[in-house]
Amino acid sequence: MPKTAAKAKRSLKPKEIVEPAIARVPITVRVNGRPYSLAVEPRILLVELLREALDLTGTHVGCDTTYCGACTVLLNGASVKSCTIFAVQADGAEITTVEGLEKDGQLGSIQKVFGDCYALQCGYCTPGLMLSTYQLLSHNQQPGDKDIRKAIAGNTCRCTGYQNIFKAIQVAARSVKGG
């Protein structure tokens, strides 16, 4: 057996990798209006809670390093990167994911506009971008070009070149303003 492999094997002795028992923390969250009570391991990230424990897989993991914004959700109305917050920190919070943008089983207005404007190609970044759009329009119903650029600066899209996303947000802003 090569020396390094022997070393690796040695370091994997159960005795050495056992961590002291970590207490799970009971939390209560409301996701898209639905209440959940569960106990989570502290190191579980919010995005993992949503995707794996609650089976809400619309929220995506892109870079997993606080860069791309694919995992954007609203936490008490403020957009956050759910890969950069522990699930235990969402205790007592109201969370909105892309699944929460639909209305009565139909696409919500932002979702519809993104489709109408061809604002997506592979779709991986789209849930995050739609929640950033939601965050923008809930604070500013008449965003200028600069406001829109700033609002989506934390969301990376590698397909579209952003032009149609930009147009979709302009259209969504007009529809919000018009009621």
Partner: protein, 297 residues
């Protein structure tokens, strides 16, 4: 990516957080906004055994005007500073808050966390170095205040004791006739700047009465460019004096080459940022409303 497993403790007050830290010893770490700490933990550069979460402590997120100063609660999010009319009374503070990373990170990251982290690429330390800033800290033996210049001692290193917490950041209002501007040059919103410059001036007519200049991301801490300040102080501001200040800033910078650029490139860049920030600071000192935002490559 999973961080190493840790025990989670939720503090109900700053005092309780201090007690928790003293009980947990060196294995304990504070969690504020988490926008630096959580990525570091996921990459396993930081492996605390215990986290003390400050996010459920009530009443430590505020911006108050008080006796000629602005007071920022330690857990005030960058976005709260960005949208605060009170904070905007010192325009350079607004420049900083509105340009940090992106909307999502600003909604979460905190001014106290940024100062306590003392990341050489952080924005707050650079900006606050040009103002009269003190850091209020709470420890087991009570409170003390430390001037910012003595608070950050090295990269990722502060004067905080192991059981001490930043509770408040106090910034004196600049005197009449002052203007300041902060420019950070970034490749994209979510990344740290390649270089940044903060300039705070007090003008009387065309003469610069006082100057404070700090450089970010070009050294182990924010660098106070005192030679650059001297090049302006007491001088009538002209193209020549601004060039002299920019030149002195380049000399004061001590950048490391990395994926954002070579040392020489960063040195050139920081000089150019200083010059532009001086021009903007003068316009603001004259009472002009100038919008300043981070620059993108």
């Amino acid at each position: 990516m999973y961080p190493r497993a840790f025990h989670y403790h939720r503090a109900g007050s700053l005092k309780e957080a201090v007690t928790m830290l003293s009980q947990l010893g060196e294995e304990g770490k504070l969690l504020a906004g988490g926008q630096s700490l959580i990525p570091l933990m996921k990459l396993r550069f930081a492996n605390p055994k215990h986290l003390v979460d400050l996010n459920f402590v009530p009443g430590i997120s505020y911006i108050k005007e008080d006796k000629g100063s602005l007071r920022f609660g330690a857990l005030t999010r960058h976005a709260e500073v960005e949208y605060s009319a009170t904070a905007a009374k010192i325009p350079i503070i607004h420049d900083c808050a509105a340009g940090i990373a992106d909307v999502q990170v600003r909604n979460r990251g905190t001014i106290g966390g940024s100062i306590a982290e003392a990341d050489p690429s952080g924005d707050w330390a650079t900006v606050l170095s040009t103002l009269d800033t003190t850091i209020r800290c709470l420890g087991r033996k009570g409170e003390r205040t430390i001037p910012l210049s003595k608070f950050i001692t090295d990269a990722y290193t502060t004067a905080l004791g192991p059981e001490e917490i930043v509770s408040e950041i106090i910034v004196k209002n600049p005197p009449k006739g002052s203007g300041g501007a902060y420019l950070a040059f970034k490749r994209s919103a979510p990344v740290y700047p390649t270089a940044s410059a903060a300039v705070q001036l007090r003008m009387e007519g065309d003469v610069c009465e006082d100057a404070a200049i700090a450089l970010g991301c070009v050294g182990l801490t924010a660098i106070k460019a005192s030679q650059a300040e001297s090049a302006l102080r007491g001088q009538k501001i002209s193209e020549t004096t601004m060039n002299a200040a920019a030149e002195a800033a380049r000399a004061a910078a001590d950048p490391q080459p990395d994926m954002r650029g070579s040392a020489e490139y960063k040195r050139m860049l920081v000089g150019a940022l200083v010059k532009r920030a001086i021009e903007l600071a003068i316009r603001r000192a004259r009472g002009e409303q100038v919008e300043v935002s981070h620059l993108y490559a």
